[in-house]
């Protein structure tokens, strides 16, 4: 197994980076803070045109990957977006696109995929299971009741993918946000451009054409979606870590104290060495996790949880250490560091905290003993 990037991937990385640097530099990102959606719709369409939403979609369905491993390709998008704390519905767009490409009927695909692939349509994805199927009596319609407390782009989405429990088991539904009974409440988050909303389902009536995949069999699909989301968050955080380390190194080289650059002080050099280690370890475990998720190996969840716990903890620690190394300027609104700190803090807790991932790793390790 080898994760050296292919030539196509290197070329795509350069394209994605120059697109983001040109169309969404940090000054632009700051100017989008006051927009209700947090990003410019035209910009997201351009991003989609480059491929930001197509790697998890099969070629027949209008997508395609660079390397034959779509998740590896998508990690490049996530990492580059992390470098510039880009807004945009990276996780919900790709998770839903992948789910629809894998499990949808032809009608569902034709209804949803062209819009997601072109960037015209922003889908929402509910990561939890907080909704219940209260009526599935006659096989033709279902009534959904409950809430989804934290839905990325929930207020921007036209349609959301939601998982509901019921007597048959877990079922996933594609629900239009303007369906009668759906209430959307925008939330305020630590990240200034990633938007979240609470969705309430007050006896929302949907029919069979809304079911994605099979009724009662959505457990593995939801698990896969969660692992994809966590890996993307990890990759985005490694991008942020890498950019923060770069400009911290520059700053410490330019700034002098007692007649010598700050970067020549051994205690500061040792902090920076630790930060480099955290970055490379984060990249390594994230890449392994992405491979395992793509290949659906029996270690996939362990690797993703290990990545999420490690990257979550060390991503925030790296940026906080960078604040310390910058001194007073690091805690100002004017300096860009807080944009990075906001993004890595968001990713650290979204989909589980490091402590929750460790708890799950313990559970998996102990289960492993029972079966071996």
């Amino acid at each position: 197994m080898d994760f050296a990037p292919t030539d196509d991937q290197e070329l795509f990385r350069a394209t994605a980076r120059s697109f983001l640097e040109r169309e969404a530099p940090l000054a632009t990102v700051r100017s989008w803070i006051d927009r209700p959606d947090g990003f410019d719709a035209g910009w997201w369409r351009q991003a989609a045109e480059i491929g930001f939403t197509s790697f998890l979609v099969s070629e027949e369905a209008g997508g395609g990957s660079l390397s034959g491993r779509g998740l590896d390709d998508l990690l490049i998008v996530a990492e580059e977006m992390g470098r510039l704390v880009s807004p945009g519905p990276l996780v919900p767009a790709n998770v839903v696109a992948g789910a629809v490409s894998t499990s949808a009927t032809r009608q569902q695909r034709e209804r949803l995929l062209p819009g997601i692939l072109s960037g015209d349509h922003v889908p929402g994805w509910c990561s939890g299971v907080e909704v219940e199927v209260v009526v599935d009596g006659d096989d033709h319609h279902f009534v959904l009741r409950g809430g989804a407390s934290l839905v990325e782009a929930g207020a921007q989405a036209q349609e959301v993918l939601v998982t509901a429990t019921g007597s048959a088991g877990l079922t996933q539904f594609l629900v239009p946000v303007d369906a009668p009974g759906v209430t959307v409440t925008p939330l305020v988050g630590i990240d200034l451009v990633r938007r979240f909303a609470r969705l309430d389902f007050g006896d929302v009536r949907v029919d069979r054409s809304s079911v994605l995949g099979q009724v009662g069999r959505a457990g593995p699909a939801l698990q896969h979606q969660r692992l994809v989301a966590l890996v993307l968050q990890c990759s985005e955080t490694t991008g942020a870590m890498s950019r923060v380390l770069e400009f911290t190194l520059d700053y410490l080289g330019d700034r002098y104290a007692a007649g010598r650059p700050l970067s020549s002080y051994q205690v500061l050099k040792h902090y920076l060495a630790d930060m480099k280690l955290w970055l490379e370890a984060s990249r390594g475990v994230t890449a392994l996790a992405a491979r395992a998720v793509h290949d659906q190996t029996d270690e996939a969840e362990e690797l993703v949880r290990a990545a999420a716990a490690y990257v979550g903890e060390h991503g925030t620690e790296l940026v906080q250490k960078a604040v310390q190394l910058h001194g007073g300027i690091g805690i100002t609104w004017e300096h860009d560091l807080h944009l990075y700190l906001r993004r890595v803090s968001l990713n650290r807790n979204l989909g589980g905290t490091p402590a929750e991932h460790l708890e799950r790793l313990a559970e998996l390790s102990l289960q492993q003993l029972e079966t071996s």
Binding site: L272, L277, L361, S365
Partner: protein, 419 residues
Amino acid sequence: MSPPEEQRESVEQFARRSGEWLAANMPRLTSEPVHERRDDIWDRQRELQRMLWDGGFAGICVPRDYGGLGLPVEYQRAFTAESLPYELPFYLGTPTFSIILATLLDFGTHEQKLAHVPGILRGDTIWVQFLSEPSGGSDLAACLTRADRREDTWVLNGAKIWSSAAEACDFALCLARTNWDVPKHRGLSVFILDLRAPGVTIEPITQVNGNHTFCQEFFDDVVLPLDALLGEVDQGWTVTTALLTHEREGVGGSSPYVSGRNLLAPGSTVRTNPAAVLARSLGIADDPVARQLVGEQRMSDLVQRGLVERVSVGVRTGSLPPSAAALLKLYTAGASVRRTEIAATLAGEGGVVWSPGDVETQERADKYLIRQADSISGGTSEIQRNIISERVLGLPRELAADRDVPYREVRQSSRARTD
């Protein structure tokens, strides 16, 4: 030197022949090989190496002139892949094969290679390197052991320390200062030292845990022949740099001279979580604090696997410099500290007071007491951080008071000077 390609058997044929020979001749491993220091372990290594030699599988990548098979590295990898279920002379892998043999092949004269390489391949001689000194710490080039030219000999005086299992070895490569009038790195030479030569004293060091993994050595007027010099006189730092590169290959598992699985290579693919085993055996698998530690242990092992991949691919493709190996060293040192700490914490009261004969608990306590060893040996974590910040990140180098100064004039630790 090596057979022309068209006459050579294919890698697949070689692998098949190796597999059949291994099955017929080598003992199967009944359990995981462990770093035991049994009294007879070195005789066993010699015996196993002799079996490889007699079977025609010793020195797969060593030139035929010196007793090897002269085959490309794919053949060695194929043999190792076939050999995983069998007991091989694991403890000869590093340093004798990966470090010493490789350095002898790099710098030895034809006569030196003829004199020493076949003996290594037959299992007749076991080797060690003498680099660190009692006064030197991580600064290997601050070498005070001296070799002085006296007529047609070299005379060696000084002391070395932290050499692995030197008491079981036959020969050493020894770094010594041959010129005191030039700066630190330019007055060193490397010698082939017969450990039975008069004037060589080897003393095992008792560690905190009672083990004798390392030794120290003293040299009192040890007389060496002129042809004991490996490489050029005063060019010993070049030899040492190559030797240290071979050490990284040995530890990292990429040496072309080692047969069998690499006990030192990090990034294992083992799925069993030792902290989970311990928590279950202590009946605390439901305790939330214990579970955090069990989870951390698994995380640490999996992250290490990812880092190994990341660094090896990065160095190969050029996105990281070769010195990025220091990242791996720094990570494994920290992970090793946490591993012993997690075990000690899980063990609780029962981990510090135990019934007589409870070897497992005692070993766990000993490991905790010696937990800093991996952050010290092979270059301290502080040195690794210097390497990462200076050579990987390109930050300013530390001030060195001995740079470009004749070594005679460099200040030494108060009790260290020998001249």
